[in-house]
């Protein structure tokens, strides 16, 4: 800034006024920069506003044609067929089935991994395992989709011959594996934040390492652990490519992991891959489904946030 303003000051005849003007110019430049930086900060707010506005305005057209009650309570979803039905429950069923299956895998494995890393592992082991978990977390979801469809599904079909080429189980397994690193690393952060003095007090009373871990460290870190679980569920609900590839595209009401199901995210992908004309009711469905997906994940993220800030046990 100084370089741009200084010559202007030099062109004056000098004296105390010039110096003051130079300072004023510097202040204007500072204000401009502060304004630009503020605008950068605003981009994130505009993104949220944009998401909400797009989802609400585009799906309002949809809800003019399909009553909200039918949308939320209908048990058939067939917008791409001649007999169009717009009940989102089958998509919610598919989404939640896979999320629950993924949680059955990720929560116990993630939590015990976190306990191992925080309570048992030597610094050297931790130094090796943590980067490997980061690699697992960094693998693109489409790669997990490939792994689910072409490695896990064939294995499952050997074990359960009634399983289809597309089934909820293989999608749930890979989504579960995908979120283990997230549960493990967030829970480990929570466990590491439990002060040493608590553990030492328990050891002093004669507790074993197992008892210290499960009856002192885990309860003390519970809010962080629960928050990590909720974030993980939110992630599983929003996961797209693995479920699109592995779970198939048949929206229906089922509780069987061997059936093919369709999730909300997989439906959105299916519509955008097809040649759906802009402005048609089929096209508008992606915004309505997207709105439900956004609200669900947002609610879970807010709850998770709230748990970490509200229920955190603070130790001196």
């Amino acid at each position: 800034m100084r370089d741009q303003v200084a010559p202007q000051a030099g062109s004056d005849s000098g004296g105390p006024g010039a110096d003051l003007r130079w300072r004023a110019g510097r202040r204007v430049g500072e204000g401009v920069i502060a304004g630009l930086l503020f605008l950068c900060g605003l981009v994130s707010v505009l993104t949220t506003v944009g998401i909400v506005v797009v989802l609400v305005t585009e799906s309002s057209g949809f809800f003019r044609e399909v009553p909200l009650v039918d949308f939320l309570t209908g048990t058939r979803w067939s917008p791409l067929y001649t007999n169009q039905r717009f009940g989102i429950l089958p998509l919610l069923n598919g989404t939640l089935l896979i999320a629950v299956g993924a949680m059955l895998i990720a929560l116990p494995i993630g939590l015990t991994s976190a306990i191992y890393l925080s309570e048992y592992a030597s610094p050297r082991v931790r130094g090796i395992v943590k980067p490997l978990l980061e690699i697992l977390a960094g693998i693109p979801t489409v790669v997990y989709g490939y792994f689910a469809l072409l490695f896990i599904t064939p294995l499952l079909r050997v074990a359960f011959p009634s399983a289809g080429v597309y089934n909820a189980a293989s999608a749930a397994i890979v989504v579960g594996i995908m979120i283990i690193p997230m549960v493990a690393s967030l829970s480990e952060d929570a466990l590491s934040a439990v002060p040493r003095s608590l553990r030492e007090a328990a050891y002093g009373l004669g507790a074993t390492k197992f008892e210290v871990s499960t009856r002192v460290a885990v309860p003390a870190a519970l809010s962080g652990i629960v928050a990590s679980f909720i974030l993980a569920i939110s992630r599983a609900v929003g996961e797209t490519m693995a479920v699109t590839l592995a779970a198939g595209a048949t929206p229906h009401m089922t509780l069987s992991f061997l059936d093919s199901v369709q999730t909300m995210t997989a439906y959105i992908v299916q519509v955008s891959l097809g040649e759906t004309p802009h402005g048609s009711i089929e096209y508008k469905t992606i915004f309505a489904v997207g709105l439900v997906l956004f609200c669900m994940t947002l609610a879970m993220n807010l709850v998770s946030n709230r748990i970490t800030t509200r229920f955190r046990e603070v130790y001196e």
């Binding site: 510097r26 630009l36 944009g50 494995i109 790669v143 072409l150 590839l245 959105i268």
Partner: protein, 297 residues
């Protein structure tokens, strides 16, 4: 049997040998959990190496996609991924670092700042496909970018922006305040302090976060499907307004086909993508280590 008694009794097991044995069993269970992740990682990598090895060749990297599997390649996908990477970096770096500087160095501690900060945290948890819907409505239709590289890159830039901002904020926060105070003490303005003192020290940390964000961006598939990336691109993209494909889209397309040959092609493309991601992550780690050892001196 004590175990069969009421819950209060179950909480204390007086026999030390048994308690130790429980402890060892629990430790074994925890270790097994870690093993699940590591074995899965190894299996996944081995599976891809076995499936893809036969298809990896120089021609595979330089050919266009084809309906005939033996002639198919990933040239447009690699170029598209590089284009996307560069464009996402050009868009998200200034906005992300700008926002981080604002929040750390300029913002008054007030409700608006808190709102922006909470908002960034929440945006990081929005599913990537929702960003795809936003990109479709805003960049493809409203701004009229069409199904172009620019629309895809802008969408992904918004997607990684929260991560870039959070990483940059952490890097800026780690700059010792004595540095700032010394600069203010000799009469520097706020921007001079930021530009000449804070940013140079924070830059390795900012760049590390940027590279990790880019490695997330080039692995994304769903938002680009929404924005309209194609699976068949038989030309080399030359401008940001061109139609495009990227590696993950190509992988998705080939994986979804029934023929085994295309699955081999998908595995080979995955291997290329993973090597690219590995290189980026190694760069980030090297940068971080160098930065840490420098600060340690």
């Amino acid at each position: 049997m004590r175990e069969a008694g009421p819950a209060r009794d179950a909480r204390f097991e007086p026999r030390l040998a048994r308690r130790r044995r429980n402890g060892r069993m629990f430790q074994a269970v925890c270790l097994a959990s870690i093993a699940v992740s590591l074995v899965t990682l190894a299996t996944l990598l081995a599976d891809i190496a076995i499936d893809g090895a036969a298809w990896l060749s120089g021609e595979f990297l330089t050919s266009f996609p084809s309906r005939i599997s033996s002639r198919a390649g990933i040239r447009p996908a690699i170029l598209g991924t590089i284009w996307i990477m560069v464009l996402v970096a050009l868009i998200s770096f200034p906005f992300g670092v700008g926002a981080a500087i604002y929040l750390e160095e300029y913002a008054p501690r007030g409700r608006l700042t808190k709102l922006i900060q909470t908002n960034i945290a929440n945006l990081a948890g929005v599913p990537s496909i929702v960003y795809g819907i936003l990109g479709l409505a805003i960049f493809v239709r409203y701004f009229g970018f069409g199904r172009s590289l620019l629309a895809g890159a802008a969408t992904l830039a918004l997607l990684v922006l929260p991560v870039v901002i959070i990483a940059a904020q952490e890097a800026i926060r780690a700059v010792p305040s004595s540095l700032r105070e010394a600069a203010y003490g000799v009469g520097a303005t706020r921007w001079q302090v930021v530009r000449s003192h804070v940013l140079p020290v924070a830059m390795p940390g900012i760049l590390t976060g940027m590279i990790l964000s880019l490695s997330r961006a080039i692995g994304e598939t769903a938002p680009l499907i929404m924005v309209g990336a194609l699976a068949f691109v038989a030309f080399t993209p030359t401008s940001p307004m061109d139609l495009f494909t990227v590696l993950p889209i190509q992988i998705f397309n080939w994986t979804a086909r029934p023929q085994a040959d295309f699955h081999g092609l998908a595995a080979a493309a995955i291997a290329v993508l993973l090597v690219l991601l590995l290189l980026m992550n190694m760069t980030a780690i090297l940068l971080r280590n160098r930065y840490q050892s420098k600060r340690g001196q």
